[in-house]
């Protein structure tokens, strides 16, 4: 195992996975608390459609994925704000529509392109130095924004109407959160893939939710769990030659199941 860590590709994979694990699990706290679980899945599939279009047209995949991801969250947010449609309904429609677009773009490609499918299922072991740099820059931007606006993000997650009533620009902060979710999804595409990024946003935060009664502690725990599961998943996948995305997500799921079984909240309830 230690010998494997001396390879450049392995160090890159581990760094990429830990960065993605940290960013996904940090934003996941606000996604879980604000009840936006479905938005991660919708954005991931929209971003994948962007990747497919980029490969079809010869454009840069991450840039097009960001455009698709942002368009999806902003349209869904706008529809909810104007009272036209609930967020989960509009995301559901955009999710399926963009997935249909992705399949259409894949169908239009003359040959099988393994790289595109890498974005669907994740291939952390093939992350290049350039991709790692992009993940690091975008990841630090997301973490920086979460840190700077944490008090407002916590407030809208707890009670958006109350936040607005007490003078927090709640609407703008909500759109900031949607934007950060879209960027996080795109950052994570190459590492865990479009299908599993949703799990990396939800599972560590939901695990932390089981374990604490404090917002600050929930965030810290979520980031620690997400980072460790991502690193553990990469090591397991390389040791046993398993696909990396599923290894990360299944490890996180196992930790989640343990957290539910031993949750102080659950134990308190059964004692009550």
């Amino acid at each position: 195992m230690l010998e494997m860590l001396s390879y450049d590709f392995m160090q890159r994979s581990l760094a990429a996975a830990m960065l993605v694990g940290a960013v996904c699990s940090a934003i996941g706290v606000f996604v879980v608390l604000r009840g936006l679980a479905f938005i991660g899945a919708g954005t991931a599939h929209a971003a994948f459609a962007g990747v497919a279009l980029a490969y079809l047209m010869g454009w840069p995949p991450l840039a097009v994925a960001i455009v698709f991801g942002l368009a999806t969250v902003w349209i869904a947010g706008l529809m909810e704000e104007q009272g036209r449609m609930k967020l989960d309904v509009s995301i559901g429609i955009l999710y399926t529509a963009t997935m249909a677009l992705a399949i259409l773009f894949l169908g239009l490609m003359k040959t099988y392109n393994a790289e595109v499918y890498g974005y669907l299922f994740g291939s952390v072991l093939s992350v290049t130095a350039e991709e790692l740099r992009i993940i690091a820059v975008l990841g630090f931007c997301v973490m920086g924004a979460l840190l700077v606006f944490s008090k407002e993000l916590y407030f809208i997650a707890f009670d958006q109407e109350m936040a607005e009533a007490s003078g927090v620009p709640a609407r703008r902060i909500f759109y900031l959160l949607l934007t950060l979710v879209a960027v996080t999804v795109v950052v994570s595409l190459k590492t865990v893939g479009a299908i599993l990024v949703f799990a990396m946003i939800l599972i560590p935060a939901s695990t932390a939710y089981q374990l604490t009664h404090s917002l600050a502690q929930m965030t810290t725990l979520s980031v620690v769990i997400g980072t460790l599961c991502a690193a553990g998943g990469v090591l397991v996948s390389s040791a046993w030659d398993l696909p990396s995305g599923p290894a990360i997500v299944l490890l996180a799921t196992a930790v989640f199941i343990l957290s539910v079984l031993f949750s102080p909240k659950r134990l308190n309830r059964s004692q009550a």
């Binding site: 407002e152 707890f158 936040a163 009533a165 007490s166 620009p169 939710y209 404090s214 917002l215």
Partner: protein
């Protein structure tokens, strides 16, 4: 008379096709304790949202702190401590009492400013004011309904507001606790000189505590000292057959008890 800080002049509010409040003319002066009463759907919560600047009038005008409500900025809103009508709280939402009260500071602090030690002290002092200082580290979900309302009042106080706007603060809590929450509000009004607007269904609970009552049913039916507003003829006109006045002058509004 003290300076009016909230001024409705022939103001109407609503959504497309629905008029929630019509032609309201009302002034609320600094330091007053005003109770807002009326049947279900009479526009009481709309009145709160209007005062918070979240719902501009489609006709007439509304001025808050000498500022048209359409121009109400975040720093104005931070001067109104608001306790919204609350659905049952998610018992497991991971937030401690102090974290919830600290949120009261966020609007006044503005973006990019981290809460300081002084903000923490203001939040702790607000908790002391509502008698919850020993629970600062407790999970909010572990408290009783009455204790949670005290914490939310502390959050409103942490804003260091001029106006306290309370929408049904006693709904969903037992009768003894209801009285203690209202005693607390009365004390805060008296000791801190806060202007208080309290929306409620329970006329009996507040009639002895307020300076003025405002009776709404889409329109403003009456506003004045409780004795002037709680006249059987006015109440019967607003509540209709739902109103029962007992021999001891207790007013029971059937409509409320049927729906809750």
């Amino acid at each position: 008379m003290a300076h009016p800080i909230i001024r409705f002049s022939h103001a109407s509010f609503g959504f497309p096709g629905v008029v929630a409040l019509e032609d309201i003319t009302l002034e609320i002066s600094e330091g007053e304790f005003v109770g807002v009463i009326g049947p279900n759907g009479s526009g009481k919560t709309t009145l709160c949202r209007a005062i918070l600047g979240l719902m501009p009038p489609f006709a007439g005008g509304l001025q808050i702190f000498d500022c048209a409500c359409q121009e109400l900025r975040c720093h104005h809103r931070a001067r109104i401590g608001y306790l919204p009508q609350k659905d049952a709280l998610d018992r497991h939402f991971p937030i401690t009492v102090l974290e919830a009260v600290m949120m009261g500071r966020y609007g006044a602090l503005g973006l990019f400013t981290r809460p300081s030690k002084q903000d923490r002290e203001i939040a702790l002092h607000a908790l002391e004011n509502v008698g919850m200082q020993d629970h600062s580290k407790t999970a909010l979900g572990h408290l009783s309904g009455g204790q949670q309302q005290r914490v939310f009042i502390a959050r409103a106080l942490a804003q260091q507001p001029q106006v306290l706007l309370l929408d049904e603060p006693t709904t969903g809590i037992d009768i003894t606790t209801q009285a203690s929450v209202l005693d607390l509000v009365q004390r805060l009004h008296r000791d801190m000189g806060l202007t208080v607007l309290l929306v409620t269904h329970d006329i009996n609970m507040i009639r002895e505590r307020v300076n003025r009552l405002v009776l709404l049913k889409t329109r403003l039916y009456a506003a004045g000292p409780p004795a002037e507003v709680l006249r059987p003829d006015i109440l019967r006109e607003v509540y209709g057959k739902d109103l029962v006045i007992t021999e001891k002058d207790l007013i029971i509004v059937e409509d409320y008890h049927h729906h809750h």
